[in-house]
Symmetry: C2
């Protein structure tokens, strides 16, 4: 048991992660960050396929940097779930667990005899969480539940970029991350619930539901107006918000303008081109107003505008890239990085869990496990073979 | 008490929400979705400023559609926290609560005497959660913690769009939503923890930490390589993934191609322009490969490509807008909408909580409260005045 954190809130909770890639493992990571003991149950051949999914061709050992980053603080137990004996050992382990999570396609766990109905027999108080791409019914149910494909099918690609741009994906795995976060919410709510009701709890969620929930503003507005939201023609940052909401080019960079009352902005821009517009027109004349602001902002450097805007307490910011952010004192003070030792000579640096509890950062500095490296210890600790015989 | 759901997991948990706009209220919404009783503590003048923040100029009554959407299933209690008597009543209410959340700027709750140190005196087992923009120290601490500004300052705008595009914001309030989701995780973990440790728990999180956590792939790669991630020159969908990952134009729309092995894609595209590239070059020659694929895909309709790709089990999808999604059978089968009655004659339609528990959808159909409409009932139910006298 590697996650020795003494006073993290989920200490003593045992989680089995039958997951691969990002959605399920990101949920396991957060539970581990918060103190749970998380055991990955992996196929003895290749294990979690994320082990061989590189980002920017970065590898740490036989496993990709991506795998190392989101599987830190976990253990690895390998089992061939098609072998009766190994499956029986896994069932024994399920009997000791508080939570199990899987993100296989619908039908896979049923075939293995590890679906909720059957697993309850081995653990009458288990929290059982299932992640799918599109739910279990309908013509999409068997489609691959991959993040970009879900972005494509959920309408999300019409949220970013300008009106005449091609559909623009979010440049990170937003569906996986949101769905993983929501599974954690549901699992923890079920653990609170279990205090009162001593029974097994089943949780179901799909990436499609997560991405639709995320777009609640788009859908609710569409339902109310009957019209599909339209990205602004210039400087879109949110298809439903009025002028000046957006990113504006300056002579030496970019600035962001959030909800700034038009009259306040007029005082700073000092151009009579804006005279004919007032606050009541920020939706109806959004794109015209934004175009004029665009023309005015680009004539001066970022610092010039930010100084004037901040002096009036208006909501604006100068854009930073990752390097500029890293050099800020807030980044330094928040202690946003942690170092993880992979071997005697190899370390990687990652971000940490964003949550602080009782003033303590939830560090998670134990490296990701090599495939199956904890199997024997776990079998012994939980007496899995003996229980089977 | 309006949220009468009988078997939701958080039934019996009382949450006080001292929050405005989106990050804190989205956390309150999820807790309410899962069965908690959530009371908004609002200023008697204007209340949560989100009440007057419209999206696409959509209003339901005196309050915006946005406010109604994310404050359903809650109660509203108004108190002037600068009045000794009203503050004393709120303290009495805090004494009865399980959880309180605030998203005021650092210093505000301290001035009111409602900071964690003081509030523990009234409730020795309270879970106290604080959301800030940038933490409490450093030169950014007092800056407005608004979503677009945080996107601008966290590097996130260099994740979407193509390499030569302007910095591209995520077209939804990603910082608010992620931070709200993580606060819920921390609150629920603290409630699990409270089973063992009968003590007050303090949770702190900032939008900046949430957005950095979200970008863990970008940061970890940057730390490992020393180089800033670069969006691809064409069809960027994730700056760290190799070809063909992206969105491609067809004669009649767009398709998404996720991680598809180059050899498999060559079989389908059948062009000798790809002959000189193999799988080992998907990072080093990412942009050249993507450009060629772009040229080939645009010659045929979406259906032509999707049929061939799906026949081989390759990860591809045809883009859908919100309307096309709404017309799919998966959308129908997942029951993704709910109707909320605002008044006898007025209903709105929204999405629902994405989580199912024991096969039940966590519906939340009670309308958002009018400002202060529950104050008197709450005072009476909890005997707030008597306890004060």
């Amino acid at each position: 048991m590697k996650n020795k954190s003494s006073n993290k809130p989920l200490k003593g909770i045992l989680v089995l992660e039958f997951c691969q890639y990002l959605s399920g493992p990101s949920a396991g990571l957060r539970l581990a960050d918060l103190g749970a003991r998380v055991i990955k149950i992996e196929n003895p051949g290749k294990g979690d396929l994320c082990r061989v999914l590189p980002i920017k061709d970065q590898w740490v050992d036989d496993n990709s940097l991506l795998f190392h980053t989101i599987n830190r603080n976990k253990e690895s137990y390998t089992a061939n779930l098609k072998s009766g004996e190994e499956l029986a050992e896994v069932r024994n382990l399920i009997g000791k667990a508080d939570v199990m999570i899987h993100n296989f396609r619908p039908g896979v766990m049923e075939k293995l005899g590890l679906d909720f109905e059957k697993v309850q027999k081995y653990n009458a108080e288990l929290v059982y969480a299932e992640i799918s791409g599109y739910g279990k019914e309908g013509s999409w149910a068997k489609k691959p539940g991959q993040d970009l494909l879900l972005q494509a099918m959920s309408g999300l690609m019409y949220a970013s970029g300008d009106q005449d741009d091609a559909p623009t994906p979010f440049g990170l795995a937003i569906g996986d991350i949101l769905c993983g976060a929501q599974v954690v919410q549901a699992i923890l709510a079920a653990l609170v619930y279990r205090k009162r009701q001593k029974k097994a709890v089943r949780i179901e969620i799909s990436l499609l539901e997560s991405l639709i929930d995320f777009q609640f503003e788009m859908f609710t507005t569409y339902f109310a107006s009957g019209k599909l939201p339209k990205r602004s023609a210039v400087n879109n940052a949110h298809a439903l918000l009025g002028a000046p909401y957006g990113i504006y080019k300056t002579t030496n960079g970019h600035i962001a303008l959030a909800m700034i009352p038009l009259n306040d902005l007029k005082q700073i821009l000092r151009s009579n081109r804006l005279n004919e517009f007032d606050q009541s027109m920020i939706f109806s004349h959004r794109d015209e107003i934004k175009s004029i602001i665009f023309d005015l902002i680009k004539e001066q450097p970022s610092e010039y505008w930010i100084e004037k805007l901040e002096a009036e307490g208006l909501w604006a910011a100068q854009l930073k890239n990752w390097q500029e952010l890293k050099n800020s004192d807030s980044y330094e003070l928040l202690k946003l990085e942690q170092e993880i030792s992979i071997s005697e000579h190899k370390k990687i640096k990652t971000n940490r869990c964003p949550i602080r509890i009782d003033g303590e950062i939830m560090w998670g500095e134990v490296r990701a496990p090599r495939l199956g490296e904890d199997s024997e210890n776990i079998k012994e600790e939980f007496n899995l073979k003996a229980a089977h015989l």
